[in-house]
Subunit: 437 residues, 2 copies
């Protein structure tokens, strides 16, 4: 439509380049984005994406549910709704949160278009540019995207096999105070961490909460995977211990369906009021149709049995991944052993650069997410995230076989010629493809 559209180079000039907000500078496409377009080809085994295996859902029951919602409650389902979310669904969410130990009121809940939006709105309500957010090292990519979008400074806190380290948390807070700054929010994923695959012990949760309370830091607890523990036990949410100092984020994306985009926040009263107003400003209201669908599904289907199906399915895939890694990966490779959720965090041997290696892996028809994307500060070059949620077990084994061959070949080249130069310089804090959720 414009002369620039005809540019043979494809590098169209942007006439608005000087008009963007300062926050937009941090909004850059990940350099691995183009690679993932290739990685979505069916011949590639993708251990990159965080897509739940929705094909395990009862299709006929879902079809009946959505048709019933329209036929019986169409005038509500197809209409604008409450900015806080449907009150019946909010009551049902109280039941959904009982296994993680949360006791709350329906009025404490704000339903959003996926818990990603709840995360966005919490940061919108709390953070001015330059405010410090504490986050695990590594942390969820698109949380970093949100923090960047609101021009927060992210300070990473080290983890170990039990998750976020309380000692590291104390040290990081002290270092921030020594700079004359104050951390406002501690963003944490205590259960089946994305991407680290580790889980905080109950004792540790209590200790982390006490540190945050004593420092006046708001805990932002993100819990998409809490019900997906493989040994059948459900870790108790940090929010279960404190209703005033913690905002809890939940979602139906991993227990029912990501495509409905329904998540929620549980927040202290004053914060909840702000979140409802922010939700209305951002989207007017969450989708009544999606909410009523989930409400009907929860009421008419054995939803906890379905969660059990997902648990078993992901456990089998986790086992396939861990067995393959143990059998095939060259010595010196390390990985975490997830007891639930979707991910294992792998660290390569001999200083190999996971970003630089990715094009070679995709050429060998296997994909992963390089580690640097999960940090705001360039850490993670030797690490990568493997996800086992979506591919069938045999595909997972084949993927690890391909990956192991690439790692071996790269290790040999590095041993002969030195470590490869990074082909991927920096993932940036830009939003990932949704595949990386």
């Amino acid at each position: 439509m414009s002369r620039q559209a005809d540019s043979p180079t494809g590098n169209r000039l942007d006439p608005w380049i000087d008009s963007y907000a300062a926050r937009t500078r941090g909004l850059t496409a990940s350099s691995v984005r183009a690679l993932f377009a290739v990685a979505s080809r069916p011949e590639v085994v993708s251990l990159a994406g965080g897509m739940p295996f929705v094909s395990a859902l009862p299709v006929d029951a879902m079809a009946d549910t959505v048709a019933r919602v329209i036929r019986d409650r169409g005038a509500v389902a197809l209409q604008y709704g409450s900015g806080q979310g449907d009150v019946t669904l909010r009551e049902q969410i109280l039941d959904v949160m009982k296994p993680v130990g949360i006791s709350a009121h329906a009025d404490d809940i704000v339903i959003t278009a996926g818990s990603q939006l709840a995360l966005d709105l919490v940061v919108r309500v709390f953070c001015d540019p330059g405010d410090v957010v504490l986050a695990e090292a590594p942390t969820y990519i698109t949380a970093l995207g949100v923090f960047s979008s609101y021009q927060c400074e992210v300070e990473h806190v080290a983890m170990d096999a039990e998750g976020l380290s309380p000692n590291a948390l104390r040290e990081t807070i002290a270092a921030i105070k020594a700079q004359g700054k104050r951390a406002k929010i501690l963003y944490t994923i205590p259960s089946f961490h994305n991407p680290a695959g580790v889980t905080q012990s109950q004792e540790r949760r209590t200790e982390i909460l006490q540190i945050a309370q004593s420092e006046g830091i708001l805990v932002l607890e993100d819990d998409p995977y809490g019900l997906l523990g493989f040994d059948g036990t459900v870790p108790q949410a940090i929010r279960a211990q404190d209703g005033e100092g913690v905002i809890y984020l939940g979602t139906f994306s991993k227990t029912i369906a990501a495509g409905l985009r329904v998540g929620w926040a549980v927040a202290p009263h004053g914060v909840r009021e702000k979140l409802v107003l922010a939700n209305e400003t951002a989207t007017l209201c969450p989708s009544n149709f999606a909410q009523l669908t989930i409400s009907d599904y929860l009421q008419t289907q054995p939803w906890l049995e379905q969660v059990e199906v997902f648990r078993g399915l992901y456990r089998t895939r986790r086992d396939a991944l861990l067995e393959s890694l143990a059998t095939m990966m060259p010595s010196g490779t390390r990985w975490t052993v997830p007891s639930g959720g979707f991910y294992s965090w792998v660290t390569l041997p001999g200083g190999l650069d996971a970003g630089a290696m990715l094009p070679r892996a995709v050429s060998a028809l296997v994909a992963y997410v390089p580690g640097t994307g999960f940090f705001a500060d360039g850490q993670g070059r030797e690490s990568l995230r493997l996800s086992y949620c979506y591919p069938e077990p045999d595909r997972i084994r084949e993927g690890v076989r391909r990956l192991a061959a690439v790692v071996k070949a790269e290790s040999e080249i590095a041993a002969t010629f030195g470590s490869p130069r990074a082909a991927v310089e920096r993932d940036g804090l830009g939003a990932p493809t949704p595949d990386l959720a």
Copy 2:
């Protein structure tokens, strides 16, 4: 759950009151919010809400559509999707925009969780705190909420019976420049304006666009009602004249169903890239299920005939409103004559304050939205918005009868004792109830 929750006053202390971002100060509940809770009682005729009359939709066809989407394409519909939106639906949106004269590519479109989110993301991408946004006087309430949320300064531009005045636009821009500032965005609703009920002529659209182009101001064209013209003609979008200088916002909320929350932006290439990244940061992706439902509906149903049904229905209601106003309202009352859309803008006689009058109107079982909410600067005290989209014609007539009685009574009191003091001091820029959309 906390001792504060037991406070008998209901004024629970907010322990996070000192932690909110500066932008959150502008995020306050409208003072008319409590009144609208009362106004939602069935005995009240609400001429306040902007709810489409979704009961006119073909329920069985919609139920078939949603069930088919799950049965035939469940693995896609229930899964995460593209951050830009489903490519098939983006192709179909090109057809939907043909009547308003827009020629674009599917790649120019970003689908969002309602066009409200597209509006939010455009402002997020463009506006730093203090940036000046031009908007009609009056303008859409929740657009003001977005501008406030990003700490923009809003400068209103006067309208007349043909909508935004080009002369007023030139004068406002000159005044802003004289202050050493620059307007970044012109936010306009050219067709069947909310709340003013007026429509820009084609000549005027061209003139407004030329002014914006010559000043380097981005035009943000919001067009939820464009297909709902009562004489069957469809005003041509400003975007039809310029693909580089205009961002166009569209929605299915008024032509199909608001409860699905699907809208879109059409943007120049560079801007579109930023909007996709911002969309991913805010929500990961729009709902595949909602998108596939709309895509299937567009493909299998006579959707333009359904729009024709809506047009006829709203025209009948508009006529009921205008006839009632002409018959019943006291002399000196003025109102706009909408040729499409949902609203008429009423100005009261004798300096009556529409906000102060609202409690009396609700007591008389009729509700409207007071005018001040549609301004960032306290204008509009003598005006109010009436909507005719949702109530049946007989209810509209009854509502106007009640309103006219209140206006007459208030006028008599004012003539005797002077104008009533404002019970509602200020609507604020807070988000309204979604009912006000």
